[in-house]
Symmetry: C2
Subunit: 243 residues, 2 copies
Amino acid sequence: MKIDPSSSANLSAQIAKAIRDSIISGALIVDQRLPSEAELADQFEVSRPTVREALKRLAAQSLIRTQRGATGGAFVNKLSFEEAYPQQITTSTLLLSMNAVSFETACEARYALERSCAPLSAQRRSADHLATMRAEIHRQGQPGLTDEAFCASDVAFHRALVDGAGNPVLSYQLAGAVEAMQPLMNMITFSARDRARIIELHTQLADALEAHDASGADTTLAELEHYTTNLARSVMEKRQKTT
Amino acid sequence: MKIDPSSSANLSAQIAKAIRDSIISGALIVDQRLPSEAELADQFEVSRPTVREALKRLAAQSLIRTQRGATGGAFVNKLSFEEAYPQQITTSTLLLSMNAVSFETACEARYALERSCAPLSAQRRSADHLATMRAEIHRQGQPGLTDEAFCASDVAFHRALVDGAGNPVLSYQLAGAVEAMQPLMNMITFSARDRARIIELHTQLADALEAHDASGADTTLAELEHYTTNLARSVMEKRQKTT
DNA sequence: CAAACATTAAATGTAAGACATATGAAAATT
DNA sequence: AATTTTCATATGTCTTACATTTAATGTTTG
């Protein structure tokens, strides 16, 4: 069924790949139980620890789940959007921090993607999404809010906007782009005037979505992008002067 | 440094999480060597196989790489966009196939995202990107091309469009959306007339990008989405009739 | 007879020790 | 001085063993 070319090295990686390919190709279907570790060890002619290492690799990608006990074993996991979010966010975050992606580049990507959701969100947003956005706007206006909390609320606001499009695939893709920006955003200090302006734009955005006004939402998002980029630039410049 | 609450179970998952968090927080930086497996086993007070399972989990996410030999060990890996692509594509593909995402939903997401790249691509596309697109258009016109090869060329064409935006973050996000569509697209049979129309739109798209015409590219993409969706719908209906 | 309890078997989770193998660095040889 | 050999150290793998979880089975008891 799934053979293993007796090539060079890294048996556990090879075994993991063989099983992963079987899942992707559909040979192994959701909730199907894999053979026990001992059986897999026999099948691939390796030891049980090696099989276990392979299974852990797959578990790390949420491709399988394991259960202990009599009827336990490894089962093909139904990969849900909820499960995939954290991985997507972790990967995106590390990609940005490890590759020295500039704030401009990340910001441009984020707003480009978000603007692609705006027309759909203007059309389909539910009252729930609007309520979440209004609630976050309200929170952003609270006095004594830390910069980090302000950023977190900003993320929640924008995720509600994206979710309003009612397309899980879009929400999944956007989660990475929006959340991965947070560490970069956290480097910014938001003055009271900055916050007021951002809240103003957020309100404008929520109003546009409430009125099913796609082009208004798009325009506001463009302004928001412009404002955020300039804000980051001025913060960077100021920081460079002091050092 | 990285402690392990002596809670319930799944030691290897806990250890993996501890190390992963250290990488995300920046306590472990790129190319830094982790302690040897034996040292980690001492540190966490577990056995070496357990440590190894944890390391394999991290290796599966490309967070570390291992080297054998005297100066070997586990090193924090610099996660590159190139490395992240395949994982992103695998996850996106499985998400679509396991969650019964409709063709319409996937298609809508894909084109929404792609349209967000169009203005940037119209502005920045290099001669190289244009050449790739023209080459793929030419391939799509070859007689005797299988449906699968046509789809593969379609993917290559659209990836060139996306890459033309010159934003690696966008390219990364889009790779998942575009490539994950391929299994769905492969279910479609493209008649000669369909192909001709698609090639026509592709040409129009390349022309618009060459002329730095953002709105023209956007309009064409909208038409392409419309055409693809309708095509899929009619294929599905025809298939339902015969059964 | 039925419900509560104890037993058992099968599976994963963990541990310990051993050997194989790769690889760079130091030591020995030419 | 250049080359070869040796060696220490690390991961890769195997073997065996025991712990733990869990459901099914068997047993006892009201």
